[in-house]
Amino acid sequence: MTFFLFNLLNGLQLSMLIFLMAIGLTVIFGLMDILNLAHGAFYMAGAYFGYVVFQGTGSFWIALAVAPLLPLVLGFLLQYFVLQPLIDRGRSAHLDMALLTFGLLFFTIGLIDLIFFETLGLTFMSIDKPAGLGSYVDIGTFYPAYRLFIIAVGLIVALIVWLILERTVVGAVVRAGVDDREMVRAMGVNVYVVFASVFALGCGLAGLAGVIAGAELSINISMGVQILIPTLVVVVLGGLGSVKGCFFGSLIVGMTETLSQAYVPALALFATYLILAAMLIFRPQGFFGRTPKSV
């Protein structure tokens, strides 16, 4: 019984990490129709920059606070100065942007490889957990304190995102934008700034996830691609553009990965993809997604 409960905690921890990634991707997709495959690159940017900041200051907390700013700024620049102008010039938001950001992911991986491995000779890096979170707590069995921290961060971010979207003017604009882009334009809001800001925040959250993961997992060249696929699964499961869906989608993916590993290891490699494929075949709009706008 406790075995099951601890597995649930593990599942929740993984879910929250994935949620931090997926929430940005979801809102960006819902609002701008851009499937940002470079999201994995922003995650990496957070982790690697986090490592640099950590090496410089020796503080996990400073790294956690500062590192997400890099992906945040890069995200804003990318959307405002590259993606949006291209869309305005007639590139399809849907496919061209997916392909373009896919290329960007490859580019980033190559660039990071060039800087960190080829130039600095670093292969495996890690950020040390802060005192207090590095150890374990005794809650029936020893359980890593850091995992509880990840769960807390995930829940807090979920709450904040929810509050912003549901309770603030900015949130109202974004929600309206997800439902009907033309309407927001007609409202006279500078949509481009809203778009770029949302894009930047999403990338910042991915960077935050990167720093957090950098302490629990390890920082390496394939981390961005590794996290990307479960994240995409979440976005599809939850329904493209649905925040509530994203939260539950993260839970489903995190729990599936954890529980299948704990109880049916033979299926662990397939479980997530089976869910993804079944979902796309039987309910392509996701659990909470809207049906496509036009036929």
Partner: protein, 403 residues
């Protein structure tokens, strides 16, 4: 600089200029040797380690073997068999190497064994520890200077069982190498009276959380966890094992990969006091080992690690094997390149830093002893190895039917 030279040679080889390049200069006798390894991808560090040792071994021989000047041509197989095959083709067909070696990855190694056999060009694996490489896929053109998974792991299994460890959980990635390590460990451990109570194979490359597996291991109450993980997976497993507070109750042990020196920084201290098996450590105090250690640290300013030692064996075997084959052929490179491998396999490397190494009938390296080491704090406060025991080597799996 090296790259520029290569581009020129590439351009010379490319297409229309082919005719111009045929006027090969023959005043100096040169033998070309391919260093094909996984310089990018997860094994990048190991590949670099191997390269460093190659350069050391070459320097020690003054860049010559048996009157031939050695030209090393370096290629990156990127931990991808596809790329490896392509690069091997280049080495064989475009550069006309006499022999090539180096490879880390088992998958690449097996692919290259196929190419070597087809193209009748010797290949000497530097790492690539999959059993079938010198088993099912053995060939008169293929040798290996590291070891096979079974030889190392069955010896380690037997060691721990004899130390009184009764039950163990095996954890490893669910792919060929992981399965081979499990089988090897289980063979040795259970034959000596131990019992593997849980075989926990995690999805390869996609696992992000070892929590479920560690919890499952806890449930069994076994005496230890024996693992095979490498690179970033090793870092994560070791860190998470510590984070679950299991270091006291159920120590995490394995072979050199899990506690590789290159990972110590990333592990952030939790690797201290861990015990693992290895086939070389710079803490060895044999004469051969000390000599290698000095030569290596003189050249590179740091201590050699296990992958350096394996790279060194690889290079020494290739260079000395070449020399022997040339000498046996009256001072000329033999036409039949299988003779290079047979010369190599007849070498007795008694002064190898790992301890005496020789080759078995499948052209696979065997060494006399293995070492159990502990990671302890060195005199300078930095982690280092301490040899806590020496024990006999294991055996290869059967399966080779060489023509």
């Amino acid at each position: 600089m090296n790259a520029v030279r290569k581009i020129t040679s590439l351009l010379a080889g490319a297409g229309l200029l082919a005719a111009a390049s045929t006027s090969a200069l023959a005043q100096d006798k040169t033998v070309k040797v391919g260093l094909l390894s996984d310089f990018s991808g997860v094994f990048a560090q190991l590949a670099k380690d191997v390269e460093d040792s190659w350069m050391l071994a070459l320097e020690e021989r003054g860049g010559m073997v048996a009157g031939y000047k050695v030209e090393i041509i370096k290629e990156d197989s990127e931990n991808s068999p596809q790329v490896g095959v392509q690069k091997a083709n280049k080495l064989i067909k475009s550069d006309n190497v006499a022999i090539f070696g180096g490879v880390i990855s088992s998958g690449v190694g097996i692919a290259l064994a196929g190419v070597a056999d087809k193209e009748k060009t010797p290949f000497v694996a530097g790492f690539a520890i999959a059993d079938p490489l010198t088993g099912k896929f053995c060939s008169p053109y293929v040798a290996r200077t590291s070891f096979s998974a079974n030889a190392l792991q069955s010896a380690a299994g037997a060691y721990w069982a004899k130390q009184g460890v009764k039950t163990a959980v095996f954890m490893g990635p669910d792919y060929a190498a992981g399965q081979a390590m499990l089988a090897g460990f289980k063979n040795g451990f259970e034959a000596a009276g131990g019992k593997v109570v849980l075989e926990e194979l995690t999805p390869f490359k996609t696992t992000k959380d070892w929590g479920p597996s560690l919890l499952k291991a806890q449930q069994t109450g076994a005496d230890m966890i024996y693992t095979f993980y490498a690179g970033s997976e090793a870092v994560q497993v070791v860190k998470q094992h510590a984070a679950f507070g299991m270091q006291e109750k159920m120590p995490l042990r394995g072979a050199m990969w899990i506690y590789d020196e290159a990972l110590w920084d990333a592990m952030g201290g939790v690797q201290m006091n861990a015990i693992h098996v290895t086939n070389y450590t710079n803490a060895l105090d044999t004469e051969a080992s000390e000599k290698f250690e000095k030569a290596f640290s003189d050249k590179y300013g740091r201590l050699p690690v296990a992958s350096n030692a394996m790279g060194y064996t690889n290079a020494v075997a290739i260079f000395d094997g070449l020399a022997k084959a040339i000498e046996e052929n009256g001072g000329n490179l033999p036409e039949d390149k299988a003779k290079i491998i047979s010369a190599l396999a007849s070498l007795k490397l008694d002064n190898d830093p790992r301890g005496p190494v020789h080759f078995n009938k499948d052209n696979n390296a065997m060494q006399d002893n293995l070492y159990m080491v502990q990671i302890v704090e060195g005199p300078d406060g930095k982690p280092t190895h301490k040899v806590i025991d020496t024990f006999p080597y294991g055996e290869d799996l059967p399966g080779c039917n060489m023509k």
